[in-house]
Amino acid sequence: MSKNLAATNIEQYLKEHENKELLRLITCGSVDDGKSTLIGRLLYDSKTILEDQLIAVKRESKKYGTSNEEIDFALLVDGLQSEREQGITIDVAYRFFSTDRRKYIIADTPGHEQYTRNMVTGASTANLAVILIDARKGVLTQTKRHTYIASLLGIKHIVVAINKMDIVGYSKDVYENIKKDYLQIYEKLTKSLKKSKDSIHTIDFIPISALKGDNVVQKSTNMQWYEGKALLEYLDTIEISKDINQKDFRFPVQYVNRPNLDFRGFAGTIASGSVKVKDEITVLPSGKKSRIKEIILPSIGSSSELVSIQEAFAPMAITLTLEDEIDISRGDIIAHSKDCLTTSDSIVAMIVWMDEKPLELGVEYEIKRATTSLNAIFEEIIFKKDINSWEEIKTDSLELNEIGKCRLSLTKEIACDPYNKIKGTGSFIVIDKITNHTVAAGLIIDATNSDKKKRVYTEAEIELNRYIRKHFPEWRCISIEEKT
């Protein structure tokens, strides 16, 4: 394989490996599903784990080992001392390995109910989710939870790895039954989310034994009835280039670069779509128009000292200059004039609450969406989603690890997209203004203009509001009167 090429012709090897793809995945499963064992196996069999690390793990296996095998793969994966002593992983950890085709980043998150927060975090950057099911136990409540979160976070590919097939005698029936059960719950989920089925692009099933190595890296000889690929080959070949929205150009301005009086560039990372020199653009929320003058992407040090390019696409980090001098600052969004996005001061979003202190209605929080920071108030919790039963429940508070659909009013208008359309402009975090903690993640569903959905206030309410604003300005009360 690659090692041979590296040994015989390193230049050729380097050439081939310059153009690998990057695939980010999340593994979902609980302590007992063998998740750490699976990851350890992937790292070990892809030769990512080196001799000295292995010796250290063998030494530790004796001390903490929970496996009878010689090497406890879970110990390769579980980092922090206190966690090791408890024998569980408690946070998101990132692992890396690569094959000839792809570089992989695994977000390893625990499957306990109280750690929804961690799974959402890991899922936020993933292209693909591996959902582990213990072949002995079948589809469990946690499987529904994992599927729901993967779908909520817009993960396009799900692989259901049915693990511990060795314990169930590599039985085809067990595999088929679990597959059937899973597809049933998936059907229910898409119905409950009122989502079109293609919001997740692919769902596939692989029977594996992480402990014995069946269908992880090598195809298993114990399950001749299974005609699909082993997990690693599957990961290597699944089509991911269509996952990014390459249609709608969105450029959140991150940093205004003014090294001298003659240069004024807008640095940022393209959230979606692509842009060419001379394209007509609109800056939002101001609505000012101009054209792209230059797209700067320096190649310093390499043979061709190229500074600017003709076309750029997501997720490139570039600097734009414009033909006209218009006022633009961090937080603005540059889009093509022909397909602009809407601006709004009221949004409806799915909120994942991540803090010990519950969500409070009517309190001002800070929101960070792409490069825009602004203040917002939760006006209403439309419902809370039971992530196990997928029921919608009426509530007026969200607690740690709860997910709900909320309406927020913003202190200024922003240009935004639904999360399902463009992740980069449809996602935000919520920050507590006193503790500075990240207390929630938000996924925009709808950014329709506030007016239609706004509550109609009574005369008395408007008068009270006016009175407070006049006499108690230090309360910083927001006006509820219509702007005319």
């Binding site: 090692k3 590296a6 390193i10 230049e11 380097l14 490996h17 310059e18 690998k20 793809e21 990057l22 080196l50 001799e51 000295d52 980092g79 922090l80 001392q81 206190s82 408690i90 946070d91 998101v92 950890a93 990132y94 890396f96 690569s98 570089k103 980043i105 927060r117 959402v120 975090t121 936020s124 950057t125 280039s241 390459q246 991150q254 940093y255 090294p259 240069f263 640095a267 940022g268 990372t269 692509s274 320096p298 310093i300 040090g301 043979s303 696409f313 997720p315 490139m316 980090a317 991540m354 969406r369 992740k423 980069g424 996602s427 935000f428 975090i429 500075n436 903690h437 990240t438 993640a441």
Partner: protein
């Protein structure tokens, strides 16, 4: 057409790191970039030059000089800084100078504590930096795998692994109170192989110590230590032999073991790395003190 609009893994990592560096520049009052002169620092500096082109990085570099770095490292540092026209702050612990700390005499633990950990704290306190950019990667060590890209530190520069802020998408919470700070790791998602491939692809200058050459070597407790100057005790220097070696990581010369190697070019280094069965931290003496030792050091404020 779609295939054309695809970024390779290295270009994606590059874009991600540039985004992180710009985020620091846009959101903090007084950031600084740690510059250790090693290969990761070289990559980070290269990325910073790209991120703010045609301007210069809007933050200074900080080198904590233990006075025991390889001579070639210091030469390289001064040359690069001049070439690129960036600002460099060099800090050495004045108490360490007074005490004449010597790793041959005082051992690695005390030397590291006074000349690195304490010195770093002094430099950060003195500079009142609110964001400190470091070149650590998650693949280096198990405890790093769980660290955030923007990692919060309290007033005493302490890291609390149990109380980290959730980090979603590429939206980084940069809010801190006065006196607190954030350590930022733009290379979090790079592996050692990515770093080498990128250095090769982008033609990034690195310290010549990474390339194999005949050097004067003494075996000390199983590590190949290079005789870099007269401060190595004479009884050790007497045992020196000429060996063809190179370094996989760089640090204080008495604490950094070399490896036997013939790799004299970047492709040869990468080839050797791919075929080797040992990780790069192997040559670092401080890691092996005790199990989970990096985790302990980090809680104490080590970078």
């Amino acid at each position: 057409m779609i295939d054309k609009k695809r970024l390779s893994h290295l270009k994606q990592l590059e874009a991600e790191s540039i985004y992180i560096l710009r985020e620091v520049a846009a959101q903090f009052e007084n950031p600084v970039m740690m510059y250790s002169i090693g290969k990761d620092s070289s990559v980070m500096l290269h990325l910073a030059m790209k991120a703010f082109f045609p301007g210069k990085p809007p933050f200074p570099l900080l080198h904590v000089d233990t006075l025991w770095k390889f001579k070639e490292m210091i030469e390289f540092r001064d040359k690069r800084v001049k070439e690129l026209g960036v600002e460099l702050i060099v800090h050495t612990n004045p108490e360490g100078i007074k005490m004449n700390i010597n790793p041959f005499v005082h051992g690695s633990k005390l030397h590291t504590d006074i000349m690195k950990t304490q010195a770093l704290k002094q430099a950060l306190n003195r500079g009142k930096f609110d964001a400190v950019i470091g070149g650590a990667r998650r693949d280096e060590e198990k405890s790093r795998a769980k660290e955030r890209i923007f990692s919060f530190r309290d007033k005493f520069h302490r890291w609390d692994p149990k109380n980290q802020r959730p980090e979603l998408w590429n939206i980084y919470n940069t809010k801190i109170n006065k006196g607190e700070s954030v350590r930022v790791f733009p290379l979090s998602n790079w592996t050692e192989l990515d770093i080498w491939q990128y250095i090769y692809l982008e033609n990034i200058p690195i310290v010549p110590l990474y390339f194999a050459k005949e050097r004067s070597i003494v075996e000390i407790e199983g590590a190949k230590i290079m005789v870099d100057d007269e401060r190595m005790p004479i009884h050790l220097r007497k045992k020196a032999k000429i060996e063809k070696v190179r370094f996989r990581t760089l640090g204080c010369y008495p604490l950094t073991g070399a490896i036997s190697s013939n790799a004299q070019t970047l492709p040869e280094i990468i080839q050797e790395m791919l075929l080797s069965r040992n990780s790069e931290r192997e040559g670092r003496i401080i890691d092996k003190d005790q199990e989970g030792s990096m985790e302990k050091k980090k809680i104490e404020g080590y970078f």
